[in-house]
């Protein structure tokens, strides 16, 4: 059996403002290394909420979350930041690039923070990631000089910098047109196929989800189906 990267055990979450609403109800699943998983479901069914919990940014939940076989419960804020730095890469709907910095520096920041490699090596690796995404020519531009599709590719490069155990995406193609969406999907596909990268992507895009290896479907805070796709 291949190793388990992420495991959710009986995860539930309620919001209490203004009234108590249970948005996640007993979520159980696990992701093994190299899987490309998509999460779909109607708007408001709790996909983002689940992803924020899985990404360790939201700590207010019931149940257990194991990343790389470590329980995330009872970890301090600083330790969780370390887990995110080391093991998780993010791509959001919005790119969240820092306009003060060049594209290259944006990619490097998380690498410098982890401090596994020295600055020179981090820069070299950042350049490699930009190459994978085909935007190395934009490396020295300021982040705000790029097009929407390019920005999203920089965001993906940023997610890759520390060779994370898993990349999580919350509607990474949500802001993009069809052409750019396809390109981003192709990049994910390549990361999965060529680099055996584990991916967990929330999406509204049926064709995007349809092309992934496994689709988790949610409704009203529960997983209603979890199946491996046949199309490869």
């Amino acid at each position: 059996m291949s190793e388990i990267v992420l495991q959710a055990n009986n995860i539930s979450k309620s919001f209490h403002d203004p009234i108590t609403v249970k948005v996640l109800n007993d979520i159980n699943f696990s992701i093994t290394k190299g899987e490309f998983v998509s999460v779909i479901g109607k708007s408001g069914c709790g996909k983002s909420t689940l992803l924020y919990i899985l990404s360790t940014m939201d700590t207010d939940y019931e149940g257990e979350l194991l990343i790389d076989n470590q329980n995330m419960r009872n970890k301090k804020e600083g330790q969780l930041a370390r887990v995110r730095s080391e093991k998780i890469g993010f791509v959001f709907q919005f790119h969240y690039l820092l306009n003060e910095f060049t594209v290259l520096k944006n990619v490097m920041l998380a690498g410098l923070k982890l401090g596994k490699y020295d600055a020179k090596e981090v820069e070299h690796r950042a350049m490699e990631k930009l190459k994978i995404l085909g935007i190395e020519s934009e490396a020295y531009k300021k982040a705000n000089q790029l097009s929407g599709g390019q920005k999203q590719r920089v965001a993906i490069a940023r997610a890759l910098i520390n060779d994370p155990l898993i990349i999580m995406g919350d509607e990474p193609t949500g802001n993009l047109d069809k052409k750019n969406s396809e390109m981003v999907f192709d990049i994910f596909k390549e990361l999965s196929d060529v680099y055996n990268q584990t991916l967990l992507v929330v999406t509204h895009d049926q064709s995007f989800a349809g092309n992934t290896q496994r689709i988790i479907e949610m409704e009203d805070g529960r997983i209603i189906s979890d199946e491996k796709a046949f199309i490869r």
């Binding site: 924020y52 730095s85 919005f94 401090g115």
Partner: protein, 419 residues
């Protein structure tokens, strides 16, 4: 650690908002410059006014006061020792203010380790004869060299030469006020009558200006010898011994000790000028208060710009946290921003403060009462610069702390969900 990274991010955020940063830094610069200038100037003033009194006041003065003898005969009698003795209308015994055996006392004092130097003095009450009217006053007999060495006598002789007192026989240096009343010029001869009725002609060789008008209206200076002659006293006659100590703070204790040892009266500088410290303290407090007030205002400037920056950079803070920066890291970034505004602002402030004080130091200032002062007084001290720097670092740290705390608490989920 990732100090370099944090400074790097802080720098980029700063430079991205360099205009506001500059305004905030200028606030600090201004307040530190004012702080340095005020403190240097006020302390300069303090020194000047201190000098006015302290330079010229002996640390310990030995003299002989004409007063009733505390050991009245009846108290010494064995028979009445156990009684309460009431004596009325006691009169002073003896009427000489002379310090007896002063040569021996001075010799002993000169050998005292704690004494910097001493100078004898005679005070003679006189009348300056001015046609039909007489002006009351006093002539101080002084030893010019020691008086100059210890009490800067020559600084206060505004015209003429202090040493002429010794070199010209029967000479006098008139207080400026006295000279004005007598219409006397250098080279003129003035008539002086002592309280005992002796009359003497003295040649004016200079004018004396102490800075205290009341003093200059009555006092004049002559040599010890001339004064002794004026009073018709032998050349062993001395009324005061003025002592300057190595350590001013020992004055009260030593004054008591000498009084007991040499059987004379004594007065120390602290007692003679007890009100004096108060003025200096008030001026110092004012300088610090103004400086700190300005700094606090500058601190609010920094607080504002940081709050604005944090509000604007919510997204950046959220993504930094999402990608592995801890709350502590974020806090450090904003404190680094605040501290660097404080540091560079203060550094420039110190430079401007220094320049401003050197300019003030050049401005002519000739108070009639203070002949030695030619420009505004400035006290240069590295302590002020260190205090200024420390104050500004503390203020900017506090100004940065609360916004930074807020930034570190930003929940990335809230920001990301809000998009």
């Amino acid at each position: 650690m990732n100090v370099k990274l944090i400074l790097d991010i802080a720098k980029s955020l700063l430079l991205a908002r360099w205009r506001q940063t500059l305004v905030a830094a200028i606030g600090v610069t201004f307040s530190i410059a004012m702080f340095i200038t005020l403190l240097s100037f006020m302390t300069g003033l303090n020194d000047m006014l201190d000098g006015l009194i302290l330079n010229r006041t002996p640390h310990v003065r030995l003299f002989n006061e004409v007063k009733p003898n505390p050991n009245q005969p009846i108290n010494l009698s064995d028979e009445y020792k156990t009684h309460y003795n009431f004596i009325e209308s006691v009169k002073s015994s003896g009427n000489s203010q002379e310090i007896y055996n002063n040569a021996a006392i001075m010799k002993a004092l000169k050998e005292d380790e704690r004494v910097l130097g001493l100078t004898p003095k005679i005070t003679a009450q006189v009348l300056y004869n001015n046609g039909a009217t007489d002006i009351t006053g006093s002539v101080n007999g002084v030893e010019v060299e020691t008086e100059t060495k210890l009490f800067f006598f020559n600084n206060y002789v505004t015209s003429g030469k202090a040493t002429d007192l010794k070199n010209v026989a029967n000479s006098i240096i008139l207080g400026k006020g006295v000279a004005n009343k007598l219409l006397a010029d250098i080279g003129d001869v003035v008539q002086v009558t002592t309280s005992k009725g002796e009359l003497m002609s003295l040649k004016v060789v200079g004018f004396f200006q102490s800075g205290i008008l009341e003093v200059d209206k009555v006092q004049s200076y002559a040599s010890i010898g001339t004064t002794q002659k004026l009073m018709g006293k032998p050349n062993s006659y001395i009324t005061d011994i003025n002592i300057k100590l190595k350590d001013l703070s020992l004055a009260p204790a030593l004054a008591k000790e000498y009084a007991r040892l040499y059987d004379v009266d004594s007065e120390d500088i602290q007692t003679a000028n007890s009100q004096f410290e108060t003025g200096s303290t008030v001026r110092t407090i004012i300088s610090y208060t103004v400086g700190i007030t300005l700094l606090v205002v500058a601190g609010f400037g920094i607080y504002n710009i940081l709050n604005m920056m944090i509000y604007e950079k919510m997204d950046s803070i959220a993504i930094l946290k999402a990608t592995g920066f801890s709350g502590k890291d974020v806090q450090r970034i904003f404190i680094a921003i605040s501290l660097s505004i404080g540091f560079f602002g203060a550094f420039l402030g110190l430079i401007f403060g220094f320049l401003l004080t050197t300019v003030i130091d050049q401005i002519p200032f000739n108070p009639a009462a203070l002949p030695t002062i030619k420009t505004f007084p400035i006290h240069y001290s590295p302590t002020f610069y260190i205090i200024g720097m420390v104050f500004s670092i503390i203020t900017t740290y506090l100004a940065g702390f609360f916004p930074a705390q807020k930034a570190s608490k930003i929940d990335p989920v809230v920001i990301i969900r809000g998009k």
